[in-house]
């Protein structure tokens, strides 16, 4: 499992493996539980690293399929740290098609793990956006993560407006209003 205390080791190991896999420099944009742990926003374990895309020339671009050398390097790290298969994945990449919260690029937090690997973690405010969307869509531990981020009303309002751009249906708006009311944000629900 990945947690804040071994995250540094795992990414550094990935950098070292890239160096011996004839790899190239790469910058990955990471969201999800790994980003929460890396920025010490929420202390919890996660089984994988969700990659949104690669960071090139100030933009997040789709990767599609990881290059072979990165797959080989990730496979070594998987074995060396007893991580689950597909621990490094492009699961959230489709988010690039539906749109990112405004200003996300400027808020990315950069961490360099060696000569080859740089990770850009999404910030707390963007986590609130994604976690609100995931809470409405899937619920479960995402709800817990969202409130552990201790969002302010202003932040939740911005996140609410963004999630409504992801699903414009009336039904989804009702789900959002109901969710906000349920969690004590009646005033905010009225502004949606």
């Amino acid at each position: 499992m990945i947690e804040s205390k071994n995250l540094e080791l795992i990414f550094t190991a990935l950098d070292r493996q890239i160096s011996v896999s004839s790899g190239a420099r790469i910058s990955l944009v990471v969201c999800g539980g790994t980003a929460l742990a890396a920025l010490q926003l929420v202390a919890r374990t996660t089984k994988d690293v969700d990659v949104l895309g690669s960071f090139k020339k100030g933009q997040i671009v789709k990767i599609g399929v990881f290059p072979e050398w990165l797959k080989a390097a990730a496979a070594k790290v998987e074995r060396d740290f007893n991580l689950p298969a597909d621990w490094l994945n492009l699961g959230p990449e489709s988010q690039l098609d539906t749109g990112l919260p405004k200003g996300l690029l400027k808020r990315l937090v950069k961490k360099v793990y060696g000569n080859f690997l740089t990770i850009f973690f999404i910030s707390r405010i963007d986590q609130i956006h994604f976690k609100l969307y995931a809470s409405l869509d899937r619920g479960g531990y995402h709800v817990e993560d969202l409130f552990k981020l201790n969002p302010s009303e202003v932040e939740l309002l911005a996140a609410s407006r963004w999630v409504l751009t992801q699903d414009v249906s009336v039904g989804f708006r009702m789900i959002l209003i109901s969710f906000l009311k349920k969690h004590g944000y009646e005033k905010l629900a009225g502004k949606i």
């Binding site: 071994n6 080791l9 550094t12 190991a13 070292r16 493996q17 160096s19 011996v20 004839s22 070594k76 074995r79 060396d80 740290f81 007893n82």
Partner: protein, 305 residues
């Protein structure tokens, strides 16, 4: 300062052990040295390859070996050496570079090619008289050369060695482990079976061959030597030596640990013969594998001397 379990110490002990192993074997083959002779059976072609890997780390040994080859190259099975060398001169699966440097291997090839290297051979031969004695074939570790003395420098010596050490085998297995062509091994085994020198037993799709104990005249030689399958052994330790000596592995316990995991199956297969157990990689994530595995690998090297 390097600690006991540091990559620097590992490299130091590994290099020292590897060179001691080579010196002991070459001493047994007739190179003058202070080190004691080995008691293990020697595989000449595997030893040449291993020494080529360490050539830059011990120039004195390399010079002596070049002289030995100049004088006694008739004992070398060049076809077998060439076949065996394939794994050492192409880029290694894990290190992504050849285990033997191109220029070193070219020197060996040039020396063994008598027509091209006659001048160099003459020079080496005259110098060699001061530092070499001809291999004494009656020494148990030189059983391979002894058999070559009887049967000639061909597959028969290794075939008998294989059967003496392993008891039995099929032609595919023997060819693979002795670095000969399977057809060649099969033809010899069939002839020997017809003459009653070996016993043939059909098991499934394969015929198993074993030496007929009545005809074995070499058992006393083998009994004093525990056999090492030197080509995989040297390949394993060459990888380790090169990694421990060159960046990015040399100062990185994690990358060395990862390489240890890569070679774990090979190390297990080699160590089966002396019942040395290696730590399970799954129990030591990341660089935690370095201390226990490096120690076991050094123990295995020590037990091979």
């Amino acid at each position: 300062m390097a600690t006991k379990n540091s990559p620097a110490k590992f490299k130091e002990y590994l290099q020292e052990g590897f060179l001691v192993l080579l010196w002991r074997q070459w001493r047994t083959l007739g190179i003058t040295a202070y080190s004691p002779e080995t008691k293990q059976l020697i595989d000449l072609e595997a030893l040449i390859l291993a020494t080529s890997i360490a050539a830059e780390q011990d120039q004195r040994l390399w010079t002596a070996v070049i002289r030995w080859l100049a004088c006694f190259q008739d004992w070398v099975n060049q076809a077998r050496l060439k076949r065996m060398s394939a794994a050492f001169i192409k880029p290694d699966e894990y290190l992504k570079k050849p285990l033997i440097k191109k220029e070193i291997w070219q020197e060996v090839e040039l020396l063994l090619s008598t027509t091209l290297s006659s001048k160099k051979t003459t020079t080496n031969t005259s110098r060699a008289k001061r530092t070499l004695t001809p291999p004494l074939l009656k020494k148990p570790p030189l059983l391979q050369l002894y058999l070559r003395g009887i049967f000639g420098v061909n597959a028969r010596a290794e075939l008998i060695l294989f059967l003496l050490v392993n008891g039995e085998g099929n032609s595919n297995q023997i060819a693979r482990e002795t670095f000969y062509d399977q057809k060649n091994i099969y033809v010899i085994l069939e002839r020997w079976a017809e003459s009653g020198f070996v016993t043939k037993e059909s098991r499934g799709k394969q015929n198993q061959y074993s030496l007929d104990s009545g005809d074995v005249f070499l058992q006393s030689n083998i009994s004093s030597s525990s056999f090492w399958s030197w080509p995989p052994f040297f390949q394993l330790y060459s990888r380790l030596l090169i990694a421990a000596s060159s960046p990015p592995w040399s100062n990185d316990p994690y990358l060395l640990s990862s390489l240890f995991r890569d070679v774990y199956p090979q190390a297990m297969s080699i160590s089966k013969k002396n019942r040395l157990l290696f730590p399970d990689p799954k129990l030591f994530p990341g660089d935690n594998y370095f201390p226990p595995m490096s120690q076991k690998l050094l123990d295995l090297l020590k037990s091979s001397l």
